[in-house]
Amino acid sequence: MRHRDFAAFIAPSLIAMFLFIVLPVGSIMVQSLFVEHDQVLVTTKNCGPFGCKEETRVDTQATEKLRREEPLGKFNGLGTYFNRAHLAIAQVGQIFSGNHGFGDIVSRLYDLPFYKALSFTLVYTFLVTPLCMVSGFLVALGVNAIPRMIKGPVIFLSLLPYIITPLLGSLILFWMINTDGVIGATLQLIFNDPELSLKASPVLTWVTLIVYGVWHMTPFAFVVFYAGLQTLPRDTIESAMIDGASRWERIRNVVIPHLLPLATFVALILMMDNFRVFEPIVGFSAAANATSLSFAIYNDLNGQTDQLFGSASATSVLTMIGVIILLLPVLVRTWRDFKGRAR
């Protein structure tokens, strides 16, 4: 394909991506270096019958004017990155210089908002991804063995958790696990504890969110693995049977190696999607016990009084760095492959 044709065909797509992906990335990098203006204070001398009094108050008009003129705020360098809400260099330094052992470090780090969000995001990503793959694989094996007639309906039902809007899916589950909901109430009955609430304890909240994550993403792993099972090399399976391999040995030695390339693909997609976990925290109203990087950004931007652009942007930049680190193995491998077959 000639350069000219290629350019004409790809232009709309590239321009859209440039304007709304590349430029915003630049924009958040710039924004992250600024913080909101302080309020403009005016000091007036108020002299009354009982002498003079200095009074300080906010000059709302001047503040508004300043904000309008310089919406970016004032320059702050890398200050936002290092403050308590983000990397919290000073606090981390303190924690490491004086602490009462490992447990203390962890719990004090967890009190810092950025590390709290980061730890949940990472735990969520690295637990949900493998769990989804295992459950997806099992479901795929199960569906593969049922009679053809009921496969359609079974696949239909299995797809529902994946296709559902994340926010709505988590709301549906949230209402069920609510203390008044069917699952929540039943759990209270089972454990005979009327105070039991999945929302109350951080651990139970994390578990709930992770269970939701597995529920939501399992169908994706299932569908890909199921498609992979349809292309199993029958010759190899049949010769394994003739060689006397048991069912388990066949799965281990033929099926799993065949699905391995697919597994890499599934893992990649799952990690990308899980890393941005955000809606379930809103849906489950879980922010008190679990926040994620995406949620932290949302929270900054959604501030009731002020939108904290600087803070949100700094978290965004840190999140993007996280994404790049996550993708690095894939990128490096693709690059090697590409160099290998470059002609």
Binding site: M1, R2, F9, I10, S13, L14, A16, M17, F20, I21, G26, S27, I28, Q31, P71, G142, N144, A145, I146, I155, S158, L159, L160, P161, I163, I164, T165, P166, L167, L168, L173, W175, D180, G181, T186, T218, F220, V223, V224, Y226, A227, G228, I237, E238, F265, R276, F278, V282, S294, I297, Y298, L301, N302, F309, S316, T319, M320, V323, L331, T334
Partner: protein, 293 residues
């Protein structure tokens, strides 16, 4: 597949079948439960005495005089004007899907037909963009959009959603186009077509399955979006998902949570339909990227 390869003994069959049954209940039960419950009153759907109340609905009988009530739906759709959000969602999803497909087919075709080095870089860049959490980009939109005075309106959200979905769209269409032999467009070009004519008259007519599948996913992405629509649309222009989220703040205090339940069910029904009619395409779309490896 009931042949020797798939044959198994009874115990294995029972274990496998019951595991599958458990999964199906987990996957589908919440939806049917909520669907049923949305026609009851709050005292039944959120009953502390017995979950059976949500099914039989004694309080519903008492309060409304019928087994089922449309109060939740009436409250959401009429009183809270959920129809406005539904209309906005319709506009946004239709526009996003159409524009995404136009841009995506052009781009995906170019990427599949060029053997040059830059196609590799574009695809890699698209992969990285695809991995970016959407909310990080939203943080970059707000200030410029305020400044340009385009914040809050539907066209802005549509354009942003198109752009955000492009990486995904061109990847998927690229892999569909790769499965169409180059011979086809080359013979069209020898027969007298320009590149674009070959694309329009010869390649697109055989691409419909891929276009439909990708369209479904574009639809899903825009329909399911929360990050972009919640942050970029003002109160009047909200689509269904952010609208439901803003319901939540008020309904809890007003005791009208059934409005939210009804709204959630209403927003879920189209997705149900979609899976029902396009199950095959969705399955093929999910695997499209994987088959290529």
């Amino acid at each position: 597949m009931a042949d020797a390869v798939m044959r198994r003994n009874t115990t294995q069959a029972i274990v496998a079948t019951s595991l599958l049954a458990i999964w199906l209940v987990l996957a589908a039960f919440p939806f049917f439960w909520t669907l049923w419950g949305s026609f009851k009153v709050e005292a039944d759907f959120f009953s502390r005495q017995s979950w059976w109340n949500a099914i039989s609905g004694p309080a519903t009988m008492l309060q409304t005089g019928g087994h089922f009530t449309l109060d939740g739906y009436r409250g959401a759709w009429i009183q809270r004007e959920f129809w406005r959000a539904a209309l906005n969602t319709g506009i946004v999803t239709v526009c996003v899907t159409t524009i995404s497909l136009v841009f995506g087919t052009l781009g995906g075709y170019a990427l599949s037909r060029s053997t040059r080095r830059y196609t590799f870089w574009i695809l890699i860049a698209a992969l990285v963009f695809r991995a970016m959490p959407h909310i990080t980009l939203v943080a970059g939109y707000l200030l410029p959009f305020f400044k340009l005075n385009i914040w809050g309106v539907l066209p802005t959200a549509i354009v942003v959603l198109v752009a955000i979905n492009q990486p995904f769209t061109i990847w998927m269409l690229h892999s569909f186009f790769m499965s169409i032999p180059k011979d086809l467009d080359e013979s069209a070009m020898v027969d007298g077509c320009t590149r674009f004519q070959a694309f329009r008259w010869v390649v697109i007519p055989v691409m419909w399955p891929g276009v439909i599948t990708t369209g479904l996913f574009s639809f899903l992405l825009s329909y399911n979006d929360f990050a972009v629509t919640a942050m970029l649309l003002n109160q009047d222009n909200q689509t269904m998902v952010p609208k439901i989220n803003s319901f939540l703040g008020t309904v809890q205090t007003e005791g009208t949570i059934m409005y939210a339940v009804a709204a959630v069910v209403s927003a879920t029904v189209p997705l149900f339909m979609l899976v029902m009619f396009f199950q095959r395409q969705i399955v093929s779309g999910l695997t499209a990227g994987a088959v290529k490896g």
